[in-house]
């Protein structure tokens, strides 16, 4: 390797490429893209002059690739700086003659080169789509890859920025995936409330929508909307490109400015306790917090599982005051949504609002659950706590129960917080009572299912960062793939195929029960519950077995 070559690039890039996981990822992607194209490749000798068939293939391929970029790219930059900081090698790098700029670009180039490999692996598939005809090289394939490259750049710079702020690799992974998910999906929601772009709120909502790549990609794929009415007007290609470029440059600039010795400057928490403060301060904090996080805790009572209490206490946002805030936020959002339907702020019926509420809850579940669950075991093993747990007389069953309860309680509280919204919905349309009940059962199953999958997948890995990344990818795939297939309903996927794929998780059933536009024709109950129940039971068994195995002497 030439001495002019940035040594950080060399280490970062080869470090990623040499890992068996990266190799397996590339191989899996190449095989997946090939299979996807082959599955949709015309089997008869008829030439489709209109290009409809090739666009159908291109959609499957394109959304798959987009999902691949969203799932895979953030994992590496999200841990890039925090890993080095915790291992002490960042201090060595900063002490070397390398400037912060070359350290940053070395790391960024390493990540970008790997992402480029991912995109290269997809080129044979893209070439096959193009060869089928009907896809424009410049405004179709070319623009799509340009959008992907922009996304890769944005996600890499964003991941590295977050990585420079967090204190642990799993926090980096969690936060990066959450922000990317928000950028990708949540940015579409305000525009759904104020469609058409009229008024200040409408304009703001439309600009927020430009932050997401979904409208641009959908336009490239020749699809005007998300399957529901009034969502898409203008995809805003230029705005999206400008925002992505500017935000990436800002992310990069802020990260570079943080690459100095100040990154290590962090004072230790002083452990201030409310009990030692004056009466006024104590009363004020009681009023402001309801449950004061700085008050001295009483001992764990005998009737509570100590592992569950420990899990709540050692989560930054697991403390009561944060749970209250989260529950309150969910209650407010669900009430606002239902209020919007009741006062005809939008032209939507209660079915659409109900569908939106279901989707919002599922997003919350999908974002929160892997973050809460994936590190249940790997977090302990990472921090050395597992050894200590093994030394206690706690049985593996009690450990499993405590850990799962800590997640289930949090998610059930969030779900219960949305009940007022559903109650208002029933009040408006009393005949929806039965449907709402079925939806709530579906959502409860969604919680159980997501917790089971996250716990089982997360327990298979030793380090929290890897466990969190893989869990996010698996959980998001389980929820996004059925929606992608549903988007391709009619063509390229037939009714039977879509109905079968929607059974993968209970969300499709919830949306179909509440008669969300596009889901009404599918009959998914009770099969979706059986599938969710069976799969959850299997995943809980895997998790339980793994915990039992890890508590045994080896």
């Amino acid at each position: 390797m030439s001495s002019a070559f940035n040594p950080v690039v060399q280490r970062e890039f080869f470090g990623i490429v040499r890992s068996p996981k990266a190799f397996a990822t590339l191989l899996a992607l190449t095989i997946t893209f090939s299979i996807a194209v082959l599955m949709r490749w015309p089997t008869d000798a008829t030439v489709d002059l209109s290009g409809v068939q090739s666009i159908q293939v291109f959609r499957v391929f394109g959304y798959g690739l987009l999902a691949g970029v969203v799932f895979l790219v953030p994992a590496f930059p999200a841990t890039s700086i925090v890993n080095e900081k915790n291992a002490g090698t960042l201090a060595l790098l900063l002490n070397s003659p390398l400037s912060p700029l070359s350290i940053y670009f070395g790391k960024l180039a390493g990540v970008l080169l790997f992402a480029l490999l991912v995109l290269l692996a997809s080129l044979p598939g893209a070439a096959a789509c193009y060869a089928m005809g009907g896809i424009d090289l410049k405004s179709g394939l070319g623009l799509f890859y340009f959008v992907l490259l922009l996304l890769v750049f944005q996600y890499a710079t964003l991941g590295m920025l977050i990585s420079s702020y967090v204190q642990s690799t799993d926090a980096g992974v969690r936060l990066t995936y959450s922000v990317i998910f928000a950028l990708f999906f949540l940015t579409l929601i305000p525009d759904a409330f104020f469609p058409g772009g009229s008024g200040v709120m409408g304009t703001v909502a439309q600009w927020v929508r430009y932050l997401s790549p979904v409208p641009v990609v959908m336009q490239i794929m020749g699809q005007g909307g998300l399957g529901s009415k009034g969502l898409i007007t203008s995809p805003g290609n230029m705005q999206f490109i400008l925002f992505t470029l500017i935000s990436s440059l800002v992310f990069a600039a802020v990260t570079i400015s943080r690459l100095n010795y100040r990154i290590f400057d962090q004072s230790r928490a002083q452990g201030v306790i409310t009990d030692d403060r004056g009466l006024v301060a104590r009363l004020l904090r009681r009023f402001l917090f309801i449950v004061d996080p700085q008050r001295r805790k009483p001992g764990i009572p005998w009737y509570l599982n100590p592992v569950m209490v420990k899990e709540f206490r050692c989560r930054r946002f697991g403390r009561s005051q944060w749970l209250f805030r989260l529950v309150a936020l969910c209650a407010v959002v669900s009430m606002v949504l239902t209020f919007a339907a009741a006062t005809s702020v939008t032209s939507w019926g209660t079915e659409t609002i109900g569908g939106l509420m279901v989707i919002l809850q599922v997003i919350l579940i999908v974002v929160m659950t892997p973050s809460l669950t994936s590190g249940l075991i790997s977090g302990e093993r990472d921090g050395g706590g597992w050894e200590l747990l093994r030394l206690t007389p706690l049985s593996s069953l009690k450990i499993v129960r405590g850990k799962l309860l800590s997640v289930l309680w949090t998610l059930l509280l969030v779900l219960m917080a949305t009940l007022p919204g559903y109650l208002v919905m029933i009040y408006i349309q009393p005949q929806m009572w039965y449907q709402v009940n079925l939806v709530l059962v579906c959502l409860a199953w969604t919680v159980v299912y997501t917790v089971a999958v996250s716990a089982a997948v997360g327990s298979l890995f030793r380090t929290t960062a890897v466990a969190t990344t893989v869990t996010y990818v698996v959980v998001m795939s389980l929820f996004v793939i059925p929606l992608l297939v549903w988007l391709g309903r009619g063509a390229p996927f037939g009714f039977e195929m879509v109905q079968r794929v929607l059974l993968i998780n209970p969300v499709g059933a919830a949306l179909s029960v509440i008669e969300t536009p596009g889901f009404e024709q599918y009959n998914l109950l009770p099969a979706a519950w059986y599938v969710a129940g069976g799969f959850s039971a299997l995943m809980f068994l895997v998790f339980g077995f793994k915990v039992w195995r890890l508590t045994r002497p080896v």
Partner: protein
């Protein structure tokens, strides 16, 4: 103070990973109230032994018992009998020290009222009362070690196993740690302590076990080990003038040859000193001084260099380089390897 009943007993304890033997037929006995110093280079098998004793590892063969309970089959009993402090602290983020100890107390099934009292007690023993409201993840290494001791004491175990308790501590913290260990022994606890800081161990341990490459090389009190391992002694002859050094080196070498004893003799002109290592005892070495003085050499001092645990350890460890060390008999009858 010890009684006759052994509290820790391992018999032919062996742990193999495929072809690699991490622990080879280790047999030791420790009596109640004793402090055992467990010494060995990195990868010698100390942690393997400890992990078998606390029930985290399954031995390939052999048995280990603590207070009569089998470490493998009676793990629930062992968990109550033993308090283990691993080298890794095992921190939980966002938890205060009080909450941390409360969790472990609850995990050991200690009732809430008793637990609250116990937390204050163990923090006091560990000299960590002021840390009760601090966050566990914000503690320095020395503070973590104290909290770890407090955690280990929460369920009032009979036996405490401390892996590298002095690791990373500053000199004052080491002194405090030593005092704490002696205090624990006074409380009637049996302790197994591993450390690389041998002078620290030498000051607190009743008995020492030296292990290299998974095999027990020496076991017994410090004096017994010195006697067994340090077969050769080093003497220093302090001279008056620099020009004496070469003459005295020649005299010592000649005298040793005449006595039919191998001696390694070195002269240090700058120090005006001659050092020699020999296997002779006090009675046999005395004529050398007479011989030197009789030869007209002015001798300022003639002294034996005191050996310590470090020397003993180095002797054992160096013996293990490039093959098995010379077989040494265990110092006590209980210890066989």
């Amino acid at each position: 103070m010890t009684d006759q009943q052994p509290i820790i007993e391992t018999v032919d304890l062996t742990k193999r990973y495929d072809e690699f033997t991490a622990l080879d037929s280790l047999s030791i006995t420790v009596h109640s109230g004793q402090i055992l110093g467990f010494i060995g280079p990195n990868g010698a098998g100390k942690t393997t032994t400890i992990r078998i004793l606390v029930g985290l590892l399954k031995p390939t063969s052999g048995t280990a018992r603590i207070a009569g309970a089998d470490c493998l089959t009676e793990s629930r009993k062992i968990k109550r009998l033993v308090g283990y402090m691993p080298d890794d602290f095992g921190k939980y983020n966002n938890m205060r020290v009080g909450e941390y100890l409360d969790f472990f107390g609850a995990a050991y099934g200690i009732g809430r009222r008793k637990r609250i009292v116990r937390i204050d007690e163990v923090l006091e023993i560990a000299g960590a009362t002021y840390m009760k409201d601090l966050f566990v993840d914000a503690l320095s290494r020395g503070m973590q070690q104290r909290v770890a001791i407090a955690r280990t004491l929460m369920h009032d175990p009979q036996v405490m196993i401390l892996d590298e308790p002095a690791n990373g501590l500053d000199p004052q913290a080491r002194i405090d740690m030593r005092t704490m260990l002696l205090r624990l022994a006074e409380m009637g606890k049996t302790l197994i302590v591993t450390s690389h800081i041998l002078p620290e161990l030498a000051r607190v341990c009743d008995i020492v076990a030296m292990i290299t490459k998974g095999r027990l090389r020496a076991f017994g009190t410090l004096d017994e080990i010195m006697r067994d391992i340090q077969q050769r002694r080093t003497f220093e002859i302090q001279l008056v003038d620099h020009d004496q050094v070469d003459r005295v080196v020649a005299l010592v070498e000649t005298w040793s040859r005449e006595m039919n004893h191998e001696s390694e003799v070195t002269g240090a002109t700058t120090e005006t000193m001659v050092r020699f290592t020999t296997g002779l005892n006090d009675r046999e070495i005395t004529p050398l001084l007479t011989h030197l003085v009789g030869s007209g050499e002015a001798i300022a001092q003639f002294r034996e260099v005191p050996t310590d645990l470090e020397d003993a350890f180095l002797s054992v460890a160096s013996g293990s380089h490039g093959g098995d060390p010379p077989q040494t008999q265990p110092a006590t009858q209980e210890a066989t390897s």
